[in-house]
């Protein structure tokens, strides 16, 4: 180690052969903290230039004025007043923005509940029932591979199944369960939730699996030996210990769905309003301050949800 070598060197300079010449050849040693900066600096710069500063610009521009063509760098609350237009006047009816957020939260809750259920049991199966390491790796990989392929393709993949003449409808018609094709299968809230679950259950499986794999198996045997039923072990041992994974997975899924505009757009036939879609619509209309104001609102709501959830668990300790 450096330090012990330095001490030895001071005590008796002749003890470490060659080290004196090595020092002479390399007079400028970089200090450890400088090396850390060199190593971590580039990534920090990328986040600064393409994440932190852009976020600051979103907040600044949300208070700018705008006309039909351009941004006007003068203070204005128009981005926000336009967004909340009619929210007080229309009471007790809900204004557009409130309705949109309620709908987004509803989608969010549905997708969260379903991905949590599926993700929990898939992770449970992989962590506790698959004993061989090779099988565990293989099956985990099987769950991961779709994540490396395109989301849009995984969305349009539902068209041949759910469309009016799709497999599901023709199957149901053949069995005589329905006489008319079911219309709500595609380009509806149903297909949006289905696609979101299809795309993002992965984000639930991974953290929950990671928590479960760290559970000491002897704890489960101890519970069994102490007379706990399988259900009691699940509720009192496994779920509490898997909680960090559940919370992290939930944060991922909730933030993704809150800000989603692509899945909701494609699978909703561009007809369903959502928090992320408002931003997209405003940008397309070149109303950047209004888009930025909506982004700030979305950011605040997302941040509140994450803060509430991270009260339950210290994220940094779990990684």
């Amino acid at each position: 180690m450096d330090t012990s070598e330095d001490i030895l060197q001071q005590a008796s300079p002749g003890l470490i052969p060659g080290s004196g010449t090595a020092r002479a050849a390399k007079p400028t040693r970089l200090s450890p903290s400088f090396i850390s900066w060199l190593q971590a600096g580039p990534m920090m710069l990328v986040f600064l230039a393409f994440f932190l500063i852009p976020l600051v610009f979103v907040v600044i521009v949300s208070f700018w004025d705008y006309n039909e063509y351009q941004l006007l760098p003068a203070f204005s609350g128009r981005g926000y007043t336009d967004t909340f237009e009619g929210c007080i006047a229309q009471l007790p009816d809900l204004c557009t923005i409130a309705k949109t957020y309620l709908k987004t939260l509803k989608l969010c809750f549905l997708v969260w509940a379903i991905t949590l259920f599926i993700g929990f049991w898939v992770a449970y199966f992989l962590a506790f029932h698959v004993k061989s390491k090779t099988w565990q790796t293989g099956l985990s990989l099987l769950c991961t591979i779709p994540f490396w392929t395109s989301n849009v393709i995984r969305m349009i993949a539902w068209i041949p199944l759910l469309g009016r003449n799709g497999l599901v409808n023709s199957g149901l018609m053949k069995t005589g369960l329905i006489s008319q094709p079911v219309e709500w299968l595609l380009f509806s809230e149903f297909s949006v939730v289905l696609a979101l679950v299809h795309l993002f259950t992965f984000f639930m499986v991974v953290p929950i699996f990671n928590s479960m794999i760290r559970i000491d198996k002897s704890l489960i045997e101890a519970a069994y030996d102490a007379g706990a039923t399988g259900f009691q072990t699940l509720v009192n041992v496994i779920i509490p210990l898997a909680k960090p994974g559940i919370v992290i997975g939930s944060i991922f899924v909730i933030t993704i769905v809150m800000g989603d505009f692509i899945t909701i757009g494609v699978m909703g036939g561009q007809q369903i309003a959502a928090a992320g879609k408002i931003i997209e619509t405003r940008v397309n209309a070149l109303q950047f301050p209004a888009a930025a104001a909506n982004a700030v609102i979305l950011l605040v709501i997302t941040f509140l949800i994450i803060t509430m959830m991270s009260r339950i668990v210290d994220i940094k300790k779990e990684l």
Binding site: V46, L55, S150, E221
Partner: protein, 292 residues
């Protein structure tokens, strides 16, 4: 414990199999449908078998200029992959010691991962618009835009891939034995030699994993590209544009080609990782195996 598998094993096996079918079933359906005959439609049953739709895309007579978008996405993907690997490994090394901005970098990465993509994308586009306006006002009136594939587009993709790279590095060094590196240093290796000949070979399989994430996440990236890519489109953006006007299997054929690239990269990466792991097992340390 009872002999044999508990009943829950069979129930969950079926559940897991159903989940896998749910994951892959729809994807396989469109791969199959893209091999329809020229009269093919959007759903089953298939109308003949041919490579008509696939070749149509490559001839450029189809819906998009596939070649140009393909090359752009490939170029961006490779650059994102390289930058992600280098920056993640470097930053991962930094996290093995304590340093001042450690928690700032950590929380930036986590925030970048979970702040909705549309916000990051909008922010980058605003940033570049304002830079453009400044350049036009102060230096060059004829300046077009600084937004583009390899400026704002590259940055947007990196905000998505770097957090994954960093988290994978954390996972690597959580189970990395630092004594191996210390041993190298004790034998007189310089820090660089210790990294190059000891640390890197050990972590190489996972580093390839970072590259796999870097490329595939960029190759399929959509939400962050949407506002920040500038005038040109990447392949996924073209594909998304088609979803509103789908009438024939063109879109499936395009999906199949994009997926084929993804699967080729995945196979290549996983194959390499497997090979490296095997080689490590064969030629690696015999420590802890007793005297031979």
């Amino acid at each position: 414990m009872k002999e044999g598998r508990p009943r829950s094993f069979y129930v969950l096996s079926i559940f897991f199999a159903a989940y896998v079918l749910f994951l892959y079933g729809p994807m396989i359906a469109i791969y199959v449908l893209s091999f329809q005959g020229p009269q093919g439609g959007l759903t089953f049953p298939m109308n003949g078998v041919s490579t008509y739709w696939l070749t149509k895309l490559f001839q450029g007579t189809g819906i998009v200029d596939l070649g140009a978008a393909f090359r752009r996405s490939l170029l961006l993907g490779v650059i994102v992959m390289a930058v992600t690997v280098v920056l993640s490994v470097a930053a991962g090394m930094a996290f093995r010691r304590k340093f001042k901005a450690q928690s700032i970098l950590f929380y930036s990465a986590i925030a970048s991962l979970i702040v909705p993509s549309i916000i990051t994308s909008l922010g980058i586009s605003l940033e570049f618009r304002i830079i453009d306006d400044l350049i036009k006002a102060h230096w060059n009136e004829n300046f077009e835009t600084s937004m583009g594939l390899l400026t704002s587009g590259l940055g947007a993709h990196l905000t998505w891939t770097l957090p994954f790279g960093l988290l994978i590095m954390f996972a690597i060094f959580n189970r990395f034995d630092p004594r191996l590196e210390e041993a190298a240093r004790d034998l007189g290796a310089t820090p660089w030699q210790a990294f190059r000949h000891v640390v890197l070979p050990i972590i190489l399989p996972s580093v390839i994993g970072i590259g796999l994430f870097g490329f595939t996440l960029s190759w399929d990236e959509l939400a962050r590209s949407s506002q920040a890519i500038g005038a040109v489109n990447t392949l996924p953006l073209d594909l998304q544009g088609l979803t509103t006007t789908v009438t024939n299997p063109d879109i499936y054929a395009l999906g199949t080609i994009i997926s084929a690239v993804s699967f080729a990269v995945i196979t290549l990466a996983l194959g390499t990782i497997h090979m490296l792991n095997k080689r490590q097992a064969a030629k690696g340390s015999d420590a802890g195996k007793g005297l031979v």
